[in-house]
């Protein structure tokens, strides 16, 4: 469960967040859409405990995470894999920091390799993996952090359109097997509609909520959904909200 209340933050003279509040229930998938530079990443950094806001409160499952890292599984846009660690070493880095014995962490990672499409690559260096594999490994690392709440900052932003669509289908499967509370930041309205239970549209900075749209398409959501009239209507609503937030 993610709760944000009255969050306010400035970088110098620039107000990035101004009294922002939102709530994502346990096991829910929240999609956060907004123009670039509107403060989405700042919000995620605050939730990850990396950035202390000027004001307001951020809670995970009821307890404050302001200035307290290590409570959520955060995944930035770049995969940030450690070039000097092989697949297994990268997957288990979070568990290692949390103090899980190496053997145990590696056994857990091995069980998930197939699910994350990394079978047979457990001893590969990151430099030997394709873009999609690197991103899946970064997600595996995020999942193995052992936290219920996942904070994903444009995790598929750097991938090509085809790989990206594959990843959307795949992420749904992974979450169906292993449900988590997710907050996904994206600038891609379709991605948000395909993955989220609720899409939250933010305005230009300072970010405020322009629209909160519940998404009620059936799971699993296939790529074909994108051309259905209901989807197009929802997309139109979100794009309109984005436009409103810019003026």
């Amino acid at each position: 469960m993610i709760t944000v209340e009255g969050l306010t933050h400035r970088f110098g003279d620039v107000a990035v967040l101004d009294n922002l509040s939102l709530h994502i229930g346990a096991g829910q998938f929240g999609g956060l859409v907004g123009p670039s530079g509107c403060g989405k990443s700042t919000l995620l950094k605050i939730l990850a405990g990396l950035l202390v806001p000027d004001g307001g409160e951020a809670r995970i499952d009821g307890s404050s995470v302001v200035g307290r890292p290590g409570r959520t599984a955060y995944m930035p846009q770049r995969d940030l894999l450690l070039a000097w660690r092989r697949t297994l070493g990268n997957a288990t880095v979070g568990a290692e920091i949390a103090g899980v014995p190496r053997q145990e962490a590696q056994a857990r990672a091995r069980r998930l390799l197939g699910r994350f499409g990394l079978d047979g690559f457990e001893h590969a260096w990151p430099a030997e993996l394709s873009g999609g594999m690197r991103q899946r490994l970064a997600l595996l690392r995020t999942f193995l952090c052992g936290h219920d709440v996942l904070l994903l900052d444009e995790p598929f932003g750097a991938l090509d359109a085809i790989t990206r669509r594959d990843m959307h289908a795949w992420l749904q499967q992974v979450l169906a097997d292993d449900p988590r509370t997710v907050l996904l930041v994206t600038h891609d309205v379709e991605e948000a509609l395909l993955l989220a239970d609720t899409v939250i549209v933010l305005s230009e900075r300072p970010a405020r909520i322009v629209k909160e749209l519940p998404v009620e398409f059936e799971w699993p959501r296939r790529t074909g959904l994108v051309t259905s009239s209901g989807f197009i209507q929802a997309k139109a609503t979100l794009l309109e909200a984005l436009e409103t937030g810019r003026s």
Partner: protein, 260 residues
């Protein structure tokens, strides 16, 4: 691992062989006196004569070079960490560090003998001073090049300072440290020889000065050849160490080759 291929080594070896032949023929045709330029054949003969003496000299110079490099590398890393961690320390020491490199070692070496005597110490100091600069500069660069976002990510996982040091900073700086050490290793033997040139009781530098004083130019060439072989061997050893310490670098290289 990169395979040893005959094809890689054949062209330079052939070139060396051709040059040696030209040298031999030229010296004979123009009847150059041996005290000016001996032919390769007499250098080989001289090598046979002095071989029993060389072992001790090589051991002395080798020890100076290895100890000097170790001390220089240690000091270089310490300096790099200080420069990286304390910004004002960087502003304070960088100009000094660069200036120190402009002092010719041949000028410094006699002073070091004056200060530290005729033993191994002044030679080790020369080598350490030579090794310090490239190691310090590249290691500092490696530390500064560590990815801040990577550090942030690990912090979000609850990493403490020592975790970040072990998981990001040290591995980030390792390849850079070794490029500095590689440069240092190429100059280390020559540095020890400069130290010995001024005054020593053993070592290749002493062997060279003695040979020169007795007009045994053929032996001078033997000394030079030994210095070259030792330097190349040391460079190769450091290169091998670098591959063992940073194996992922090689993976990147192969991958790049596959792409093109």
């Amino acid at each position: 691992m990169r395979r040893f291929r005959v094809g890689r080594w054949l062209p330079p070896a052939a070139l060396i062989a051709v040059l040696l032949c030209c040298w031999e023929v030229a010296v004979r045709v123009f009847a150059v006196p041996a005290y000016i330029l001996p032919p390769p054949s007499s250098i080989v003969r001289a090598f046979g004569e002095v071989r029993p003496l060389l072992g001790e000299h090589i051991a002395t110079t080798g020890t100076e070079a290895l100890v000097g490099i170790a001390i220089g590398a240690l000091a270089g890393v310490t300096l790099a960490v200080a420069v990286w961690a304390v910004p004002w320390f960087r502003r304070l020491t960088y100009p000094l560090l660069v200036a120190s490199q402009t002092i010719p070692m041949v000028v410094l070496a006699p002073l070091l003998v004056l200060w530290f005597g005729f033993g191994l110490t002044p030679k080790i100091v020369v080598v350490a001073l030579i090794a310090l600069f490239p190691v310090a500069i590249s290691t500092a660069q490696g530390l500064a090049g560590a990815d801040d976002e990577q550090i942030d990510l690990l912090r979000s996982m609850g990493a403490q300072r020592r975790d970040i040091l072990r998981l990001v900073l040290i591995p980030s700086a390792t390849p850079a440290f070794f490029s500095g050490l590689r440069i240092a290793s190429a100059y280390a033997i020559a540095g020890a020889v400069i130290g010995e040139w001024v005054g020593a009781s053993s070592g290749l530098g002493l062997f060279l000065t003695r040979s020169q004083a007795s007009f045994r130019v053929d032996r001078v060439f033997v000394g030079v050849a030994v210095i070259v072989v030792l330097s190349v061997a040391l460079f190769g050893a450091v290169d091998l160490l670098a591959r063992l310490a940073a194996p992922w670098q090689h993976a990147q290289r192969t991958r790049r080759k596959e792409r093109t």
